[in-house]
Symmetry: C2
Subunit: 199 residues, 2 copies
Amino acid sequence: MPRLGMEPIRKAALVEATIAEIGRAGSLDVTVAQIARRAGVSSALAHHYFGSKEQMFLAAMRHILSLYGAEVRGALALAEGPRDRLRAVIRASFAASSFRRETIGAWLNFYVLAQTVPEVQRLLRVYQHRICSNLRAPLRALAPERAEALAEGLAAMIDGVYLREVLGQRPPDGAQAAAMVLDYLDAQLGAGSNSGDAA
Amino acid sequence: MPRLGMEPIRKAALVEATIAEIGRAGSLDVTVAQIARRAGVSSALAHHYFGSKEQMFLAAMRHILSLYGAEVRGALALAEGPRDRLRAVIRASFAASSFRRETIGAWLNFYVLAQTVPEVQRLLRVYQHRICSNLRAPLRALAPERAEALAEGLAAMIDGVYLREVLGQRPPDGAQAAAMVLDYLDAQLGAGSNSGDAA
DNA sequence: TGGTTTATTGACTCGTCAATCAATAAAAGG
DNA sequence: CCTTTTATTGATTGACGAGTCAATAAACCA
């Protein structure tokens, strides 16, 4: 009994299911049938709406990146002063909405996919570029000379902490993960807790 | 015309070919036939010696880890004093033998495989444990309180730098990569260039 | 020499899976 | 109503690939 206007609902469900299945399997070796079943539809319908498995992966990735982007924007909106902005970006990177087993697993797999699918590579580069920008701006106010290098170091560390979580036996702990990066930040800027506050 | 004693030669060639193919494809979606062809043998022979594709992946991984281990041991043998030892471990992590496109690509894919194959997970954990140990020991002599946390931070950063290389447009530059991590180290310990030298 | 071990492969089996198609059915619209 | 559009699926196709097997052949051995 086909109600109309199902397309966005189905698509959203399939995107969620894609992420969940990749997270569960821990790899991109998930069949369209598995994804579709989890979303409660037939595999034919999944193809009908997305055209191909690759498009499903891309949609899933855009979804993850957009969640993360929202998290960052939300945190930045509340931050005042460069130091606070830096902390906001870092904390947002480990917020519960992104720092979850399944999302981390999916994210790792997208790095793999980036080596094959140009559009995935493009998206990941956009993400990396954005996170660097978000870090560089406030860093310029605190340590203009080293802003560029520090931003890249922080970004690398954030990615590295994610990566280590993949093998972690215990469930991800965003607060602790963020603490490690914040610690790096303080060491680089001089722990002086607020040296650049209140723009 | 079968010469005897081929087994180790074929195995070595197949291991190399496995790494090269994974690096080329940028994923684990490589067929045994592709690997075998690159090694100059039939796919049947590959199965004959390894039993399964999974065993080939495992052998490839052990090979990569053992190259890296050798690099670290070699560097440590020449180092004197804790600070120097730290530098040695970090530099070894970006030595030319490991820090190459194909190896980096393969390494990333092994992280993915670790989510599926317990033995791969075990091997990666051994690697992580060892790198942390190698860092923690000299750190204990320089900053006993923070040794544990710093070791994990450094390890995360090393992994993160590798990860970023996956998307890098320009070919990997080990020296520059190492510099970023060494910079973090100096910031954490106080740049005083040799505070812990000459044990 | 004849038997055993090692090396090596082509051909085949058996599954799996992405993608397609044709068919069913309910709503919308005139 | 009858048509068009949207939703939905079961069944099918076509390709591809891991792993197996039986056969060939050279080397070694007694």
